[in-house]
Symmetry: C2
């Protein structure tokens, strides 16, 4: 979709591994999220990790705000079904401890860790543990030397800071790097990551729009920015930020990957927005079908349509479909019209067909 020629940028990045998950080098774009429970409470945090895994999260990040979280972090690393990344700001000693306690990766913003000796100690700890580091850059964690330059605009300061950090890590002999540069602006996120992909074509990029707001605005901002970048082949792993329970972030992330045709997880629903032609309670019907499909892993297309204009065509084109109207629904499966059922029976009949055809 990006109309680029030759291999896509994400095929040219170096492959690194976070636990069992590959990032870069043409690996499938992976889905990350972050827990919101106190890391010092491993029972609550592991419950959230389990919910994230069920939603399709592949890498989970835990904040370590202080040493009081380290015991909980270790317990999570031991019991988590997902690779656990330690998210550390300001205090390099917490990152070093996390590497020793079983982290599958570290995330640090070198710009808020302090002088090079502290950053180098983190690099060396990750090297000893054999784990990658995600280098984060945002407006609050620029390279001080870059930030001081009067000749650069804000976008360039983010790009140049990221380049400077990566060079520093590589000069120290550390190459298991994933890079992220996040802002809450979509145009800036797109521009910065295009520039990073050109400046550092070998470094896998972690994409996200940060501090993106509540569900609607954040879903839109992440979909627009990640949609543009991923369609150009830029971006190796993603984390959607929404001010909402983290499971919702994972659903949005998968929906972005599905929309682009990059990866597919579970059913896709084709349903119309309804209009004056609709003579069935389609919103309730669609919501009920969506809810009942949650447990289904098969990548099937299910049409839930409410009118005669596009309804029969879409229902016929889908794996399973219903064209509803006037208190009843015409069921289609595999392109064949198979039954007419009353409104109350539609959802059960759809689910019954799915269970039979996609066991």
């Amino acid at each position: 979709m990006g109309e680029q020629n030759g291999p896509s940028p994400r095929e040219r990045t170096k492959r690194v591994r976070v636990g069992g998950v590959a990032i870069g080098g043409g690996a499938p774009v992976s889905v990350q999220s972050m827990t919101t429970t106190p890391t010092s409470d491993p029972v609550a945090t592991l419950a959230e990790i389990d919910a994230l895994e069920r939603a399709g999260c592949e890498i989970v990040r835990l904040a370590i705000p202080s040493a009081a979280s380290l015991d909980g972090f270790r317990a999570c690393c031991e019991a988590s079904p997902l690779p656990v990344v330690a998210d550390v700001h300001f205090d390099h000693r917490l990152a070093i401890e996390a590497a020793r306690l079983g982290a599958a990766g570290l995330r640090v913003n070198p710009g808020n860790i302090g002088d090079d000796s502290k950053v180098d100690a983190v690099i060396d700890a990750a090297g000893e543990a054999g784990i990658p580091i995600r280098i984060g850059v945002n407006a609050g964690s620029l390279d001080p030397a870059v930030d001081a330059r009067g000749d650069l605009d804000h976008e360039s300061k983010i790009v140049e800071s990221a380049v400077s950090f990566v060079r520093h890590f590589e000069e120290r002999g550390f190459f298991d790097i994933v890079l992220s540069a996040k802002t809450h602006s979509v145009p800036e996120t797109v521009a910065v990551n295009r520039r990073l992909s050109r400046a550092l074509p070998h470094v896998p990029l972690h994409l996200g729009v940060t501090e993106a707001g509540g569900p609607t605005q954040a879903t839109v901002k992440n979909s627009v920015a990640l949609g543009i970048l991923l369609s150009e082949g830029i971006g190796d792993t993603i984390r959607v930020s929404v001010t909402a329970p983290p499971v919702e972030e994972v659903e949005v992330a998968w929906s972005i990957l599905s929309a682009l045709g990059l990866r597919r997880k579970g059913p896709e629903i084709v349903s119309c927005p309804t209009c004056a032609r609709c003579t069935i309670d389609l919103l309730a019907l669609e919501a009920e079908v969506e809810r009942r499909l949650r447990g289904i892993a098969a990548p099937i297309t299910v049409a839930v349509m409410g009118c005669e204009v596009n309804g029969p065509g879409e229902a016929r084109a889908a794996d399973i479909g219903v064209a509803g109207g006037k208190g009843r629904g015409v069921l289609f499966a595999g392109g064949e019209r198979i039954a007419v059922v009353s409104r109350d029976e539609i959802v059960d009949a759809l689910m019954d067909q799915i269970a039979r055809r996609f066991p």
Copy 2:
């Protein structure tokens, strides 16, 4: 953001007018939606139109499924605060009547209207009324001559059908055209509209992903497809399709335009996704702020942040911001720290500052 050189595609399209709203020729990308009430019930339909207008809808479309809707349609045209477009399928006589009854525009899919004499009668009725026609094309309404060609894939059939319909309208001397080609596939929507923009650079494009599903999936699919196209300068007016109340479609549409920096309406919220560092009920706080901001038209940025890493920086950078934690919030306005208030007082204090500074 599209990195194109020279004027953007949307500056090269012919400008048409739907009531008082300009489409094309560099006009601001307008936001459309469609009513879901029976058009035969003008009281309910006008109430929905009013709600859509308050949400920021600029052009509204009403389905006319049969002649029983024509009286209601006329009543809506007379009383609607928004230009009303008649959406007609199959029966060309309904479109002709709608043009006579005061429609600000027609939407027809020539591919389901029938033979040329019927299409021409609709064209002539629009010409007499001095209103534009949106030519719609989708999988179910291809040009039969194009659809019969074995040398074309599905995407090409949509493109060639659209080109064929536009040529027919222009050969009859009708040029007030907006063109839409919708599918429920994001890659196909992007590819088709890129090709149409190149094949018919003078024709304004109406963008949307149709039958896109429930709120999350539909928001993602529309944001990705419209985000990619609009960022390339393609698209003159948009309609987001969501299986949800139409006011939600309008909110998503504006959010897409805001995210791209194309248009701005009302406040933008910068809020973090929360993590283990968050010591305040940020999800509830953000939702409350979002709700209270609904009536505000000023294009301000409001930060609602929950931790020490990015909180103070983002709150300071916003027009108004709060960095919350441990049962209290530090308020910032215009880059200055202005107060510390308890959790219960945060929202009122924020709204008070907004009322004072952006009256």
